[in-house]
């Protein structure tokens, strides 16, 4: 099989898996909607006004799409950051961008600043501002005369992340608990049914970030040889790094804006894929988009159903499931490479 048709088969399989999990998630939820009613709604025979219609089409479907998008975006951002920094610990939050975005969102809530024109996008603007400030801060701190050394970048990201996390803690301790009561939950990830217009914006921005990372995936492979090696092969390393940085930061910011800071997806999914598929970023980037979506959707479906009608934070599930899975993968690889 040629590499190209192998990639096609792989992506088809992942897309089928995403479809299957999404379909399953449509049937699962805390509202008592029978499987028959769900099928009737999906077939367009629901009448359009009943509880089943609202639950399936206005609540479950948009939340499923949001989970697929957010998971995919986080995983692609993870692939990008890990390849960029050649650091296995890199993940979207490592650059401090997600903390910056979270700070933006919480600031907006503290001051009751919600852009009125586009209700759903009110907080998004703040998330972007926060992400932008954090991203630029990291970039400025880390960049040296025309370069962006990897170690400095990681350090700068960690420091900026700590700064914004502390700033969030300050806000939470200073502001009346009544006004920030829900924020502690939001900080653990909050996938919600996003209205269609906002979902379209989410998809468009995530798409732009995905395009930026995918476009550099061949160069990322060469960057893995080390910057000098890449340079000898005609790769403009600085340009690649800038694009990956921008793309991954964009992906992270848009996820935080719409779903809160969700951990572990950007760490687990890229690693799991690299262990099973190998290190070719041209394969990893599109595969991460689908696999990340499947992982986060499965986690969110658990979060919605485990303690129904109450809900868990999706970030709790991604960490709880992600960590053992990660250990399994590590051990499986160690066994394969062992004596």
């Amino acid at each position: 099989m040629s590499p190209r048709s192998r990639l096609t088969v792989l992506l088809t399989l992942l897309a089928l898996a995403a479809g299957a999990v999404a379909l399953g998630a449509l049937f699962l939820g805390s509202a008592a909607v029978s499987a028959r009613a769900v099928i009737a709604v999906l077939a367009g025979r629901g009448g359009g006004t009943g509880v089943a219609d609202v639950v399936v089409l206005s609540l479950r479907l948009p939340r499923i799409l949001a989970a697929l998008l957010a998971g995919g975006a986080l995983a692609v951002a993870g692939v990008g950051f890990q390849a960029l920094t050649r650091n296995p610990l890199a993940e979207p939050s490592v650059l401090g961008v997600s903390s910056g975005a979270a700070f933006g969102v919480i600031t907006a809530q503290v001051f009751g600043l919600r852009a009125g024109v586009l209700e759903a996008l009110g907080l998004t603007a703040f998330a972007f501002c926060g992400a932008l400030v954090a991203g630029i801060a990291v970039y400025v701190i880390a960049s040296r005369a025309g370069g962006l050394p990897v170690h400095t970048l990681v350090l700068a990201g960690v420091i900026v992340g700590i700064f914004f996390s502390s700033a969030i803690t300050v806000l939470i301790s200073v502001v009346d608990f009544d006004r920030l009561g829900g924020v502690i939950h939001w900080l653990l990830g909050n996938l919600a049914p996003i209205p269609p217009a906002a979902l379209a914006v989410f998809a468009a921005v995530a798409g732009l970030g995905f395009w930026l990372v995918l476009g550099q995936s061949r160069q990322l492979n060469l960057l893995a040889l080390g910057e000098e090696g890449a340079l000898q092969l005609g790769v403009d390393a600085e340009r690649v790094k800038r694009r990956i940085f921008a793309g991954a930061a964009l992906l992270t910011a848009v996820v935080v804006a719409f779903a809160g800071p969700i951990g572990f997806v950007g760490l687990i999914v890229p690693h799991a894929l690299r262990m099973t598929l190998g290190p070719d970023n041209r394969v990893l980037v599109p595969a991460a988009l689908l696999a990340g979506g499947v992982f986060l959707l499965a986690a969110d479906t658990l979060a919605r159903n485990l303690v129904a009608p109450a809900e868990l934070s999706v970030g709790v599930i991604t960490s709880l499931c992600g960590a053992p899975f990660f250990i399994y993968l590590l051990r499986a690889r160690a066994a394969r490479l062992g004596p």
Partner: protein, 303 residues
């Protein structure tokens, strides 16, 4: 003879100092012993601050938290910081002879630290509306304002009973009360608001949740087809109410009937004297038909 008389008198002279002149049991059942009735009280609980003012004992109040925002005069009192991490230095500097703290909202460490500094702590743990009335008489006894406290408790009790009488025979609409819109947090079992909704003649659709303040499934809330939705405003009233989020669900009975209301969380989430104001407003929102005539429940003029 003289020595014998002294020997007889000695225990009598020493006893009061050893046992303390003023001994009470706080709301959690802990004994609290003071040398004398408290004259310099610091309140670490906004609702206690409100209650102390309501019984006219504010002169004994020498310190409050940053969140003690009612009545307006409470803001003039010296502040000791937030509820979670009050400044011990500021507290000690006020030379309190008693600190009132709550088991829900203050930290145990704060209480331990205060006791290590030999500052007596009176703990409160109100869980139900009845506990507010109990707290009023306790604060009355602590501050020597028993009369005013009894009067306040009786008047609040009467107003609660008046609400109950009005809504008792009416059908109970399903009510969804939203504490926080995103993620959705609602009052569950044991929450003060759940009890207030029931007293106001409503049937809270989330009262079955095991936690008092659970993060709740939006679809479960929607599937229970609430007839009334009440969005709580928080703090300054600028909290994220997010009406639009609910207005989208046009098939919900509450939205169809235009029964999407807002309520002042400061009245409904605090174990203070205004909880009855909150109850009366809730009852008016849930059962407007019961309050159409000229009634005695004006909802105005009460503190």
């Amino acid at each position: 003879m003289v020595t014998r008389a002294l020997a007889l008198l000695l225990p009598v002279l020493l006893l009061p100092a050893a046992a303390g002149a003023f001994s009470v049991t706080d709301q959690t059942g802990r004994p609290v012993t003071l040398d004398a009735p408290p004259r310099r009280i610091v309140s670490l609980v906004p609702s206690v601050t409100e209650l102390v003012f309501a019984i006219g004992a504010q002169d004994a109040l020498v310190g409050v938290t940053d969140f003690c925002d009612y009545p307006a005069a409470a803001r003039q009192k010296p502040r000791v910081g937030g509820m979670v991490a009050p400044s011990l230095e500021a507290l000690v500097a006020l030379k309190p002879d008693l600190v009132v703290a709550t088991t829900a909202g203050n930290r145990e460490e704060t209480v331990t630290q205060l006791e290590r500094l030999r500052i007596p702590v009176y703990l409160v743990n109100p869980a139900r509306v009845a506990d507010v009335l109990d707290l009023i008489s306790r604060l009355g006894a602590l501050t020597g304002h028993e009369g005013a406290a009894a009067e306040l408790a009786a008047s609040l009790d009467m107003r609660i009973k008046a609400v109950l009488a009005r809504v008792a025979a009416l059908p109970r609409p399903r009510v969804l009360y939203v504490l926080w819109p995103e993620p959705l947090i609602v009052p569950g079992r044991g929450a003060l608001v759940s009890e207030l909704l029931a007293l106001a003649g409503g049937d809270s659709v989330t009262a079955d949740a095991a936690e008092p303040y659970p993060r709740y499934s939006l679809e479960a809330a929607v599937a229970r087809a609430p007839d009334v939705i009440i969005l709580a405003s928080h703090g300054s009233g600028q909290g994220p109410l997010d009406r639009a989020k609910w207005e989208r669900f046009t098939s919900l009975p509450a939205v169809k009937a235009g029964r999407l209301y807002t309520a002042d969380g400061n009245l409904l989430h605090r174990y203070g004297p205004r909880v009855v104001d909150g109850l009366e407003r809730l009852a008016r929102l849930i059962h407007p038909e019961a309050f159409t005539g000229r009634g005695d429940l004006s909802g105005k003029g009460h503190r």
